[in-house]
């Protein structure tokens, strides 16, 4: 499976995502520069975390308008799987591929920690691997200052009804997000945005290997 790892000026988890994807058997990741105008030939697009454009204005706002965004829209429309992590999630909401918005953590501070998550939908193409997992909740690292998910009540209702809420914080909520939301998909289920970092949980020495399952599910 060929994956594009998008690189925007200032992205800083691109390298981590690239390493993680390439460590999964059957996955090959390539860097794609933000000026690209096509994503043809890729089976999946990974949008990395980490301060694109220095988080100027609103996290993800400037990257969402970078040249590659047209190709990203096309890829999404054609059903290609898109995974946005942290800043990647912010970019996907900013360019309208996911509903709602992510604003400043309610505690007003950046938070780096490991959190417990409930996998609320194990039927998406990103989460099938969690279906048989017994030692729940899963543990993934977070590191963000703007992860406070918000949307209007109608959108929330739709998200709930369609099973678009994929991850929820199951211990304490680190950022004040609505309905403890940590990750959502779009209506068709091929675009996932999540604040936690699965690429930081790929082996036991990192503290958890629960993130690997997302990549393995995605590969199928």
């Amino acid at each position: 499976m060929r994956c594009a790892v998008l690189v925007f000026p200032g992205s800083n988890c691109d390298h981590d995502l690239y390493k993680a994807a390439n460590s999964v058997e059957g996955m090959e990741a390539e860097y794609i520069w933000y000026t690209h105008d096509t994503l043809e030939g890729f089976d999946a697009v990974l949008v990395p975390g980490g301060f694109s454009y220095g988080d100027a204005l609103r996290a993800g706002a400037l990257a969402a308008r970078a040249p590659v965004h047209k190709a990203l829209q096309c890829a999404a429309a054609s059903g290609i799987r898109i995974l946005g992590i942290c800043n990647g999630f912010q970019i996907l909401t900013e360019c309208g591929l996911l509903p709602g918005a992510l604003h400043r953590n309610s505690g007003l501070r950046f938070v780096c920690d490991s959190v417990s998550l409930e996998v609320s939908n194990t039927e998406t193409c990103f989460t099938t691997g969690y279906a048989g997992k017994t030692d729940l909740p899963i543990q993934l690292p977070i590191a963000h200052g703007e992860g406070n998910y918000t949307c209007d009540p109608e959108t929330l209702q739709k998200l709930e009804e369609n099973g678009q809420i994929v991850f929820r914080y199951s211990g304490s909520n680190p950022n004040g997000s609505l309905a403890d939301i940590a990750g959502i998909t779009n209506e068709t289920g091929n675009v996932l945005g999540m604040m936690p970092h699965p690429e930081r949980a790929m082996s036991a020495w990192m503290g958890s290997a629960d993130g690997r399952i997302i990549f393995e599910s995605l590969r199928q």
Binding site: G10, G54, R109
Partner: protein
């Protein structure tokens, strides 16, 4: 020349040079060296280049006591940062830098630009930065009831909060993990907080860069952010005492741009890889002045710059302003002949401005052109080579003599040691630092194997089985009571932290934060502390590969405690040997290595009891320390140690608590003739707590006996799991007795909660 700027005669008659940090004698020397009176730009250049920050004029004679060589040292002091071989063609680059004064004025930006500055030091050597650490000092977070201390406390909380946010803001954005640090809160830092940052990077030997400008005619290329009127005279400012007039110097605030910093790192690393440059230096303190003069002086050439070509953010900047600006995120390259376009192309790809601003010339001078006129021409040997070096007078302060003579323990043994312990673990000094480090992204780049919270952070070296352990330490209370011993302890403790993590210490970097060295009492502290550090380095075989000196840390004439901080980096050859301080299995046996003595001088416990410190700090025998470290490393490498934790502030009781986890508690029974509070809280040196499987106890005992390291079996690790049925812990979970009498019996989770959130509670508390 700007019409409002004074000319050379006005500078002389109006003693304008004083505002630039030159004394009357120094100015006289400049005039003598030049054979004429310098103009404003030239005076400014001398002012910054002869400041303590750039010239080490007060500390050089002392710094020469440090050992700087070793078989693995590839680059000692003198370049941006030290470089040490770690085998297989890799090397580690690291250094400490202070940003004390800027942080006192504007804490967020001061701390942020401190991080930016140390990172540029690292990647100017050719290395990719892999970690930053920090060492912080503030006044107390809470107060008694007087109004003046209340306003101090609210200022302190502001400074502390914003410094941490600034470090986070820069480090998180630029994508280098902040993996550790240390912090101390004491009255002596109320007016003069300290912010030291340590950077660590990795390179392959062939990627090592240098800062020597050589080869007449080569282009000098300016890379990075445009120059504005930021931080003009920051380096001299850093070398002066803070006083009420400091506010008047406020244009000195520089703003960091980590986004540009990130682009600059990537562009520089790519340019190095392309082989298009000959040498490079970052523009740190004293900006373009320091980089241009030092590079050409090191290479034995001259440099001519056309200041009109320097990218400028503000309008109508004078030569003086351009040369003295400390705008951030800038580098200076000397290009290889004919490779200029390659450099421009790479920089353009990363959206980083790059422009040729001059070239190397044969005559060893710095020549500056502005609006087609020569606005400065200075022989480099006057600017860089002729700095006056001062042998200051040293005198032991009366206050120290008096304090040393006081008895360290003047109170009765408290009846309720449980509650004393609870109080102690909530002092910001000993409380968990998670409120700080959770604001830092300590995992980005996914190589962090041991996160902040353990003795040292461990970061894997990508592409190898190696890992690096790093720690920064310095207990200034000990240094205040006895600078020589305190200096030794600073080195020993940093190294011990690294050893506890399974690493062999390679070398250290240091930050010397002291008061005004022109005062004999302060110079005595500096001299004693440096001697102690040097002695420790010699015996522990730790070269000092770089560091930083920050003097004049005083407010209204009151100096801070003498505060040397030591950053140590150690190598874990095979990352399976990585060890943390946390207990791993219930039933493991607790071994205490080292002797506990009747030592409370300068301890956290004494500070809490008296609100002050006195007596002598713990003693340190360097040979004992060395044997301990070597033996410990051997047994860790043989794979029989499950956890190792060095004893420092808070003594045995705190180390027991901070080795516990949600899942594991302890039952300990100590034997001693000392007072119970001394047994629990003494900060005797050269001690380590181990947890090991029962079957390995005998083996370790034998090894320790052979090496003469005292080894006591003091208890065991217990499961602290709540049994689902009863809802209560199986055991008290945290029990310490002395000679079979219980001294602390507590519920582990409640202790951990008190300890874990104390700083957060303090910060949220209303005044």
């Amino acid at each position: 020349m700007n019409s409002t700027e004074p000319d050379s005669n006005q500078i002389y008659h109006g003693q304008v040079y004083r505002q630039m940090g030159l004394s009357d004698d120094e100015y006289k020397l400049v005039v003598e060296l030049l054979g004429r009176r310098p103009n404003l730009t030239e005076t400014g250049i001398f002012g910054v280049m002869w400041s303590e920050h750039c010239s080490y004029k007060n500390s050089k004679p002392l710094l020469s006591r440090f050992p700087v060589d070793g078989p693995e040292v590839l680059q000692g002091p003198g370049e941006g940062a030290g470089v040490v071989d770690i085998g297989d063609g890799y090397a580690v680059v690291f250094k400490v830098e202070s940003h004390n004064h800027p942080s006192a004025i504007e804490p967020y930006q001061g701390a942020a630009t401190g991080v930016g500055g140390i990172l540029r030091d690292i990647f100017s050597m050719g290395a990719r930065p892999i970690a930053v650490l920090n060492s912080l000092r503030f006044g107390p977070l809470s107060s008694g009831n007087s109004d003046s201390s209340k306003s101090n406390v609210s200022r302190t909380r502001y400074l502390f909060g914003h410094v941490v946010a600034g470090i986070a803001g820069y480090g998180n954005c630029i994508g280098v993990p902040t993996v550790g640090g240390e912090v101390c809160f004491d009255e002596c830092y109320s007016g003069n907080p300290l912010v030291n940052a340590m950077g660590v990077g990795i390179l392959r030997h062939e990627q090592l860069q240098h800062g020597r400008a050589e080869g007449i005619g080569k282009s000098v290329i300016y890379v990075g952010a445009a120059t504005g009127r930021d931080g003009i005279h920051g380096a001299t400012f850093a070398s002066e005492e803070l006083n009420q007039n400091s506010d008047a110097k406020r244009p000195a605030v520089q703003v960091g741009d980590p986004f540009m910093g990130k682009l600059l790192i990537e562009a520089c690393l790519e340019v190095y890889e392309s082989g298009a440059i000959y040498s490079v230096q970052d523009m740190g303190a004293a900006g373009l002045t320091c980089s241009s003069t030092e590079m050409s002086d090191k290479g034995g050439v001259g440099m001519e710059l056309n200041l009109n070509l320097v990218p400028q953010r503000a309008e109508k900047m004078s030569a003086y302003e351009i040369m003295l600006s400390e705008s951030q995120e800038r580098m200076l390259f000397v290009a290889n002949p004919g490779r200029e376009e390659d450099i421009f192309a790479i920089c353009k790809k990363w959206d980083v401005p790059a422009v040729t601003v001059g070239h190397l010339i044969e005559e060893p001078v710095l020549r500056l052109k502005h609006h087609s006129e020569t606005v400065a021409e200075l022989p480099l040997k006057t600017v860089c080579g002729a700095t006056p070096i001062y042998q200051r007078e040293a005198k032991m302060p009366q206050e120290v003599i008096e304090r040393q003579q006081q008895s360290a323990i003047s109170w009765e043994v408290p009846e309720d040691l449980n509650s004393v312990f609870e109080q102690l673990i909530q002092t910001p000094q000993l409380a968990s630092k998670s409120w700080i480090y959770q604001q830092y992204d300590f995992m980005v780049r996914t190589n962090t194997a041991v996160c902040p919270g353990s003795d040292a952070a461990v970061v894997r070296v990508e592409g190898t089985d190696k890992a690096l352990a790093m720690s920064i330490d310095g207990n200034s209370r000990y240094v205040f009571l006895d600078p020589r011993t305190g200096g030794k302890i600073a080195v020993a403790e940093a190294a011990r932290n690294v050893v506890c993590s399974g690493a062999r210490p390679l070398a250290i970097t240091d930050g010397l934060n002291f008061g005004n060295p022109e005062k004999p009492e302060i110079f005595w502290q500096l001299e004693q502390a440096v001697s102690g550090m040097a002695e420790a380095c010699n015996i522990l075989k730790l070269p000092v590969t770089g560091g930083n000196v920050s003097l004049y840390n005083e407010t209204e004439g009151e100096a801070i405690y003498p505060t040397p901080v030591v950053g140590a980096v150690g190598l874990i050859e095979n990352n399976v040997h990585t060890t943390t301080q946390y207990f791993k299995n219930s039933g493991d046996v607790l071994l205490l290595l080292g002797e506990t003595k009747n030592e409370l001088g300068g301890s956290a416990y004494q500070q809490m009891q008296l609100g002050n410190i006195c007596g002598l700090p713990p003693e340190l025998d360097l040979n004992t320390e060395q044997t301990l470290q070597q033996t410990l490393l051997e047994i860790i490498r043989s794979g029989i140690v499950n956890s190792a934790h060095d004893l420092s502030q808070g003594g045995l009781a705190l180390v027991l608590l901070t080795s516990c986890t949600e899942n594991y508690g302890i039952a300990v029974d100590l034997k001693s003739k000392l007072r119970p509070d001394v047994v629990l809280f003494s900060e005797s040196q050269s001690r380590v707590l181990l947890s090991v499987a029962p079957e390995n106890v005998e083996l370790i005992d034998v090894v320790m006996q052979k090496k003469g390291v005292p080894c006591f079996q003091i208890g065991k690790v217990l499961s602290a799991e709540t049994s689902a049925a009863s809802g209560t812990p199986e055991v008290g979970s945290f029990e310490i007795s002395l000679n079979n009498n219980p001294v602390i019996q507590a519920d582990l989770q409640s202790l951990r909660n008190l300890w874990q959130n104390a700083i957060g509670r303090e910060m949220e508390h209303s005044l």
